[in-house]
Amino acid sequence: MSAPAAEKTGSTVRRDPHAALEIIDVSVKFGGITAVSDVSLSARRGQITGLIGPNGAGKTTTFNVITGLQEPTNGRVFIGEREVSHLPPYRRSRLGMARTFQRLEVFGSLSVYENVLAAAEFHHSWSDDATPPRLVANEIVERVGLSTVSEERVDALPTGIARLVELGRALATRPDLLLLDEVGSGLNHEETAALGDLMIELTRDGTAILLVEHDVELVMRVCDRIFVLDFGRLIANGTPEQIQKDPAVQAAYLGADTEEQK
């Protein structure tokens, strides 16, 4: 199926035909504030794509537009070849997309295991994956390293662990496209390293990951490509090496140095 967008002006046709995700000219205004301004980016299968920028740059808002929780003022969203700009969030997810939330959205009154199980059951109900949800849940809880707390109620857990629950929940839907919004914050050095390994492992199965992360070291280690936002605008994109040398990026981060270190 070709993109039904072809009749639009040249600038709104997809630019990256191999992308698992592509957004084109997305803008979001909240009243007078422009949170996101004409942002276009893409994420490829089997790669980790970084989306970085100082606080308030518009990263989370971009995620909300992609998942359909935030209506953009302008712009289009494609998952694979399919334009999803007008689909409700749940229909977009069913195309194989899952995410985590920076401001936690866990199922607080369920246990860790039940959080993951619920997600596996959701997936079971709308996909043709016949694997029993309990098997999926067991495997994922193990894989993200939550076995020791699997019976705990999630709202009693520290934020760092709760973020892993969100990761596990997202993975339980077997996504082809995974959006991670600062999953690593609240983890110690070793846990962060393990998280990085897990992400790389996931990309080997062909998963596309879009990663928002303040931990520069982690971003530089795992990302294949990085997009940089500042004040809602895309100021750079390229490989980690290119981004590290980019003067615009350095300026943006110097200007917002203190916040970036949070």
């Binding site: 929780l69 939330f101 607080g108 039940e114």
Partner: protein, 649 residues
């Protein structure tokens, strides 16, 4: 033209009263963030107090002007201060749920107080100002009472505008809800400001009540609910914008009266009283709702859900226990027991909808009423077909009501369902039953099973409730139950995991309405007839509060809540006379025990878990939340008591 003018005059006056009500609501909402459901009841008490002061025969015969000044400028503000100090100040930063419970509890409490102080069976009259004197403009009669209403409203609107826009206090009042801490730092004192708001709001309510009562009738429930009509105007102003609210109030007042004047018969005439509620409902649909996102980590720690084995065992215990008790009960107490179980089924529908699903509803009794209507009309009122029709009709209406309300949460959903319940009261039940009329409801004949005696009917009610409770608990443990809790905890996360949140909510809302429909059959079967007063909106409100007090997330809790209410006639002789009112007691329970989100049932679950631990049993308590055991114990105890009382008579 004369007709037009006279309806315009009446419409403007009605609009003014609505505007006063809306203004009072907006003032407290703006400064404290609390929507005061009890505003109507405060207006009602204000009107009655004024009557008490100035009535020459049954009252104290004090000069009307002095009475008015006393009520509006002394008693009402004082009452506002007390309410602020005792109930509202502790609600700072509380969840919407809790503010709902407390303000609804206050509403019932005031209705109860009024019913005790002013016997509803005695007719009272509140004269218009100047005893109804007036003048004519052409052929149109205008009373001084109406002039006072308009002048007072205009004066108040202007002074409030000046207060809010041009004085420090007023600006502080507007700022306080957005950021009380900031205001405190800047030297404003939020407590002062909030006290002022409640005092002002209560005065406005009392004035509205005093203006409204002579135009209509001095009647406790009528006045309380008439004032609720003014809520629509407040919502038009989005609870914040006074000019918009006042404009909305005028539009509603005029629209309602033109309808009265020009649609003399037929559908439009019949619905004229429900116009404000319909407007309220539509405004709630149009209002921008909170985004899908909600805060997590807000859910109270709910008691563990019982397993299948334990819910079956304790269900059996409940049924056998009830049977044993039923052997020694008189007919009247058998009917009391039956209505207890029927009410428990209504509350059980709230366990599913609100306890698990997080959706507040104040129209469950109306759904039960629909069930009773279907039962009474299908196959001469006594067949299983009627039961199916009851479940079907309630379910269908539930689904229709759910569709526009799916996006609403908390306060908005509460208001919308309450608006629906009021419309059912005013436009449907009175029409179907006719004023003073009733509908015969039979107990369905089931081949081979006795259902006709009072004892048999009590057992039917008990078994139906138990089966439904076991089923609801099973649903909660199933994957659908997990989905329900997940949707409640975070609709946003569910949507990004591929869940059709609206569809899930629709299913729950519909199932819950179906349970109410079935409860309607049971309720109708107890008295064998129902009328326009069997399923009033106020009782839907009572049901919600009872469930909250008993424990809205345990089966034990809802059973307990229902029986506490149903057994009222049994234990009331033991209470001091001043407490002899169901509404009063429910209100008191709501504002005290109701603060605990898990209610009494939650405490019982905790206690049971503690005991099991103490006796060294499995640490993971299995039966805890079912605990119909507690329900049984309470039922057995109270019904023995019931038997003694009726035997002793």
């Amino acid at each position: 033209m004369e007709i037009f003018l006279s309806y315009t005059v009446v419409g403007i006056v009605a609009g003014c009263v609505y505007a006063l009500i809306a203004t009072g609501l907006v003032v407290t909402y703006n400064t404290t963030g609390i929507f005061n459901f009890a505003h109507g009841a405060i207006a009602m008490v204000g009107a009655y107090t004024y009557w008490q002061f100035q009535d020459d025969f049954q009252g104290w015969g004090i000069n009307p002007v002095i009475s008015l000044i006393l009520v509006l400028f002394v008693l009402a503000p004082l009452f506002g201060l007390i309410v602020e100090r005792v109930l509202m100040r502790p609600l700072q930063g509380a969840s919407v749920d809790l503010t709902l419970v407390v303000t609804l509890g206050l509403l019932l409490f005031l209705v109860g107080v009024a019913q005790i102080a002013w016997d509803p069976n005695v007719t009272r009259n509140l004269p218009s100002f100047f005893n109804g004197a007036g003048f004519n403009i052409g052929y149109v009669q205008v009373s001084y009472h109406e002039v006072v209403a308009v002048v007072a409203t205009v004066a108040i609107a202007i002074s409030l505008r000046i207060l809010f826009n041009n004085t420090r206090t007023g600006i502080a009042m507007r700022a306080v809800v957005d950021n009380p801490d900031l205001l405190a730092m800047a030297g404003g004192r939020p407590v002062r400001v909030q006290q002022l708001a409640w005092a002002l709001s209560c005065s406005l309510a009392a004035l509205a009540g005093i203006l409204l009562a002579p135009i209509n009738r001095l009647d406790i429930l009528l006045l309380t609910l008439l004032v609720v009509d003014g809520y629509a105007a407040a919502i038009i102003g989005r609870l914040r914008n006074l000019p918009l609210a006042v404009g909305g109030a005028m539009a509603i007042g005029l629209g309602q009266n033109y309808l009265n004047g020009y649609a003399h018969s037929g559908f439009l005439n019949r619905i004229q009283f429900t116009i404000p509620m319909i407007v309220l409902f539509i405004m709630l649909i149009l209002l921008p709702q909170d985004r899908l996102k909600t805060a997590s980590f807000s859910g109270a720690v709910a008691p563990r859900v019982a397993g299948l084995k334990s819910s079956l065992i304790w269900g059996a215990v409940l049924i056998v226990g009830t049977y044993l008790v039923s052997l020694s009960l008189s007919d009247i107490n058998l009917r009391t027991g039956a209505s207890g179980f029927a009410l428990a089924l209504v509350l059980l529908s709230l366990l599913l909808l609100t306890g698990y699903g997080g959706m507040v509803s104040i129209c469950q009794m109306s759904m039960a009423g629909l069930g009773a209507i279907a039962m009474g009309h299908v196959a001469s009122g006594g067949s299983l077909l009627g039961v199916l029709a009851a479940i079907g009709l309630s379910g269908a209406v539930g689904a229709l009501l759910a569709l526009p309300t799916l996006k609403m949460r908390g306060l908005y959903l509460a208001l919308a369902t309450f608006a629906f319940a009021t419309v059912m009261d005013q436009a449907v039940f009175t029409q179907v039953f006719g004023t003073g009329g009733n509908l015969a409801i039979g107990r369905p004949h089931i081949p081979g099973i006795p259902t006709q005696s009072d004892q048999a009917w009590m057992m039917v009610c008990c078994i139906v409730f138990t089966a439904a409770a076991v089923a609801v608990l099973a649903v909660r443990r199933s994957s659908f139950g997990r989905k329900l809790v997940a949707v409640n905890d975070s609709p946003a996360a569910c949507a990004t995991l591929g869940v059709n949140v609206n569809y899930t909510k629709l299913i729950v809302f519909t199932s819950s309405a179906m349970m109410c429909g079935l409860a309607g059959v049971l309720i109708g079967g107890v008295t064998k007839q129902v009328d326009a007063l069997t399923f009033p909106a106020l009782l839907s409100l009572v049901a919600l509060l009872l469930a909250r007090v008993g424990g809205i997330n345990t089966a034990t809790g809802v059973l307990l809540g229902a029986f506490t209410f149903a057994l009222f006639p049994v234990f009331v002789p033991h209470l001091p006379h001043i407490l002899h009112n169901q509404f009063l007691l429910t209100g008191i329970a709501a504002v005290s025990v109701g603060r605990d989100p898990n209610g009494i049932g939650g405490r019982i679950a905790e206690g049971a878990a503690y005991l099991r631990k103490a006796f060294g049993m499995e640490a993971k308590p299995q039966f805890v939340a079912t605990g119909p055991v507690a329900g049984t114990a309470a039922a057995v105890f109270l019904e023995e008591e019931a038997n003694l009382v009726s035997a002793g008579r």
